[in-house]
């Protein structure tokens, strides 16, 4: 596996948190996805060997949890909450506006490679819905106007 040295170091550290190595499966998947962007077959086999498991043990975890992905996404990940409280305040419109801004469909990499827009379930910020998570950052009370601003910001940051 080709990983950053600090990723290897954090992997070795996190395994020590558990009396049973297998427990480190989710943390390792997170660390590798953060480093490489997605979970490849090679990563699955590497984790299995590292934790003394069968590849199927890791594979079944990868396919169960929505946050793990098998292929690369756009440079930025736009996750729009689609659950009830956000939907009641316009979450679906917000999602449509993001799709229009980047001329893309749900789950696809946009033609300019900038974003992947996805619907996700409740982000536990229902009181300030609609909410959108861009990479790690939460944006609250997102209006259509705010989508325009956020999109412009994403494009500006891409040029740097």
């Amino acid at each position: 596996m080709n990983l950053k040295p600090e990723t290897f170091a954090r992997i070795d550290e996190v395994i020590t948190h558990y009396p049973v190595k297998r427990s480190a499966t989710l943390p390792l998947l997170h660390l590798i996805q953060e480093d490489v962007g997605f979970i490849s077959d090679e990563a699955i086999e590497w984790i299995a060997a590292k934790l003394e498991l069968q590849p199927i043990n890791v594979y079944e975890v990868v396919t169960f949890y929505p946050m793990f992905r098998r292929k690369p996404i756009g440079r930025r990940h736009v996750k729009v909450c689609r659950t009830l409280s956000c939907a009641l305040n316009g979450g679906y419109k917000v999602c449509d506006r993001f799709k229009e801004e980047f001329k893309t469909e749900l789950g696809q990499v946009s033609p300019d490679g900038e974003v992947t827009v996805e619907f996700v379930e409740c982000l536990a910020s229902c009181g300030t819905g609609p909410v959108v998570m861009i990479d790690d950052d939460l944006h609250e009370n997102v209006t259509e106007q705010k989508v325009t601003e956020l999109s412009a910001k994403i494009r500006a940051e891409a040029k740097k």
Partner: protein, 451 residues
């Protein structure tokens, strides 16, 4: 306006209050832990029993009773898992504790660990809180550096560590046995109870306590004032304060902390949250996270309830119901996780249920046929309806499917996914029967854009 009583949320949004340990210590932080580790663990468990504290994660099970069930004779290590999965739609209280006051949680965890002789605790935090996970990790390190966590805590000879474990986007990880499987590095398939009661056969088949974030913050407060004094807050059987997370169609959504049962639904929604949006009226409310049964404004609930030694008649509209576990259960719903979702008259109930059903069918872990197939079938029906192919028989069909799920599954998700459909049909059946007639009409502003 009824007065809030902020205990757990005392410092949330307080200007100048930060989540680092220096700020926490300036505000008297870890003083309760320092005193607690000088006491006998059994005394602390007794205080929690006396307090009457009920779990804030959803089921409202008494915390002291849960701790009392832990197998302490097996000789195996005892684990504490903090349930920070917060994934029930409508609920958003734990995130503020984690982001703004993580040391309150850590102090609560350490007192609970000491009381139960736990040497290793895990905080299971949902994957969608990456910043929250980092804040907790930093806070735990600060607490270690100050000897509140780790080896030989405060020179007592007692050692206990905390690690943060991130989930990865699956709601079923909030269910305690699903959570344990997930923490063991597997799919979050809930376990059959019995025999897998966490108190006996939990993490790594060892005795395990699973408690919600807010619950453990209350433990800190109980250790501070004593179980007796805490039990005087709130109402008998519903002690302490409760954080209500209000979302949807009110003027001022947000989080509000009150003594349990000392505020009614009407006071909360009209006075505290500013009432409905201009020109609108309230239509329905889900009082305890999206799996709780929906209530319809205008409906009345009658019966007898116990107050002290007397049985007293009650005759309530939705607005009159005191917001505690027991009163909400009496009218056929639940306080659950404290998430209050409000809908006004712009909302079409078929569309709202379609949204909820999409959630639950996506989140079923798939082990039990009634849950896996039933939740998907209900979603298919409501999706078909909102896509313009509704039939008069759909209401009966939905009810038929929903009625066959509860009681036939491994975990309570079976109930969680059927209650919305059952209650929407029971209360708004006409809207479902007539949806095929009205579907071509223009949607009211604010309606859910589901199509």
């Amino acid at each position: 306006m009824p007065e809030q009583r902020r205990i757990i949320f005392k410092h949330i949004d307080e200007p100048g209050y930060t989540n680092d340990i220096a700020c926490y210590l300036r505000n008297g932080g870890y003083e309760v832990l320092k005193k607690a580790v000088q006491r006998k663990p059994e005394e602390l468990i007794d205080e929690v029993k006396k307090s009457g504290l009920r779990g804030r994660g959803g089921a409202g099970f008494p915390c002291g009773v849960k701790w009392g069930l832990v197998d302490r004779k097996s000789g195996k290590p005892i684990y504490l898992i903090v349930n920070a999965d917060e994934s029930e739609p409508g609920t958003f209280k734990d995130r503020y504790i984690i982001h703004q006051d993580p040391h309150q949680l850590i102090e609560g965890i350490m007192i609970s660990c000491f009381a139960n002789n736990v040497k290793q605790a895990y905080i299971y935090i949902r994957g969608e809180f990456p910043i929250g996970a980092r804040i907790l990790e930093k806070a735990i390190q600060e607490a270690r550096d100050n000897n509140f966590v780790g080896q030989n805590i405060l020179g007592t000879g007692y050692s206990c560590d905390i690690f943060v474990h991130r989930g990865a986007g699956a709601y079923i990880c909030g269910e305690e046995t699903g959570l344990i499987e997930s923490l063991e590095g597997k799919r979050a398939n809930p376990r059959i109870k019995p025999p897998y009661f966490p108190a006996v056969l939990g993490l790594y088949q060892c005795p395990t306590i699973v408690n919600n974030v807010e619950t453990l913050c209350h433990v800190k407060h109980i250790a501070e004032v004593g179980g007796e004094a805490y039990s005087k807050i709130g109402t008998p059987g519903n002690t302490g304060t409760r954080i209500y997370c209000v979302s949807g169609h009110v003027k001022r959504p947000g989080y509000y902390e009150f003594e349990c049962g000392k505020v009614t639904m009407g006071q909360l929604l009209n006075e505290v949250c500013g009432g409905p949006r201009d020109g609108r009226t309230f239509k329905a409310v889900i009082p305890g996270g999206s799996s709780a049964k929906i209530l319809k404004f205008g409906e009345r609930y009658k019966g007898k309830r116990k107050i002290g030694a007397d049985m007293v008649d009650y005759d309530w509209g939705v607005e009159d119901v005191p917001m505690d576990f027991d009163c909400l259960a009496m009218i056929g719903t639940m306080g659950g996780s404290g998430g209050v979702i409000v809908m006004d008259d712009s909302v079409n109930m078929v569309e709202a249920l379609a949204n909820i059903n999409a959630f639950y069918s996506h989140e079923s872990c798939g082990q039990c046929t009634p849950c896996r197939e039933g939740s998907l079938w209900m979603k298919k029906i409501t999706t078909r309806m909102v896509h313009g192919d509704a039939r008069e028989a759909d209401a009966a069909l939905l009810k038929g499917v929903a009625d066959q799920i509860p009681g036939r599954t491994i975990c309570a998700f079976g109930e969680a996914c059927s209650w919305p459909t059952q209650s929407f049909i029971a209360k708004f059946g006409d809207e479902f029967k007539n949806y095929h007639l009205t579907k071509k009409q223009e949607k009211a502003p604010g309606a859910l854009e589901l199509v």
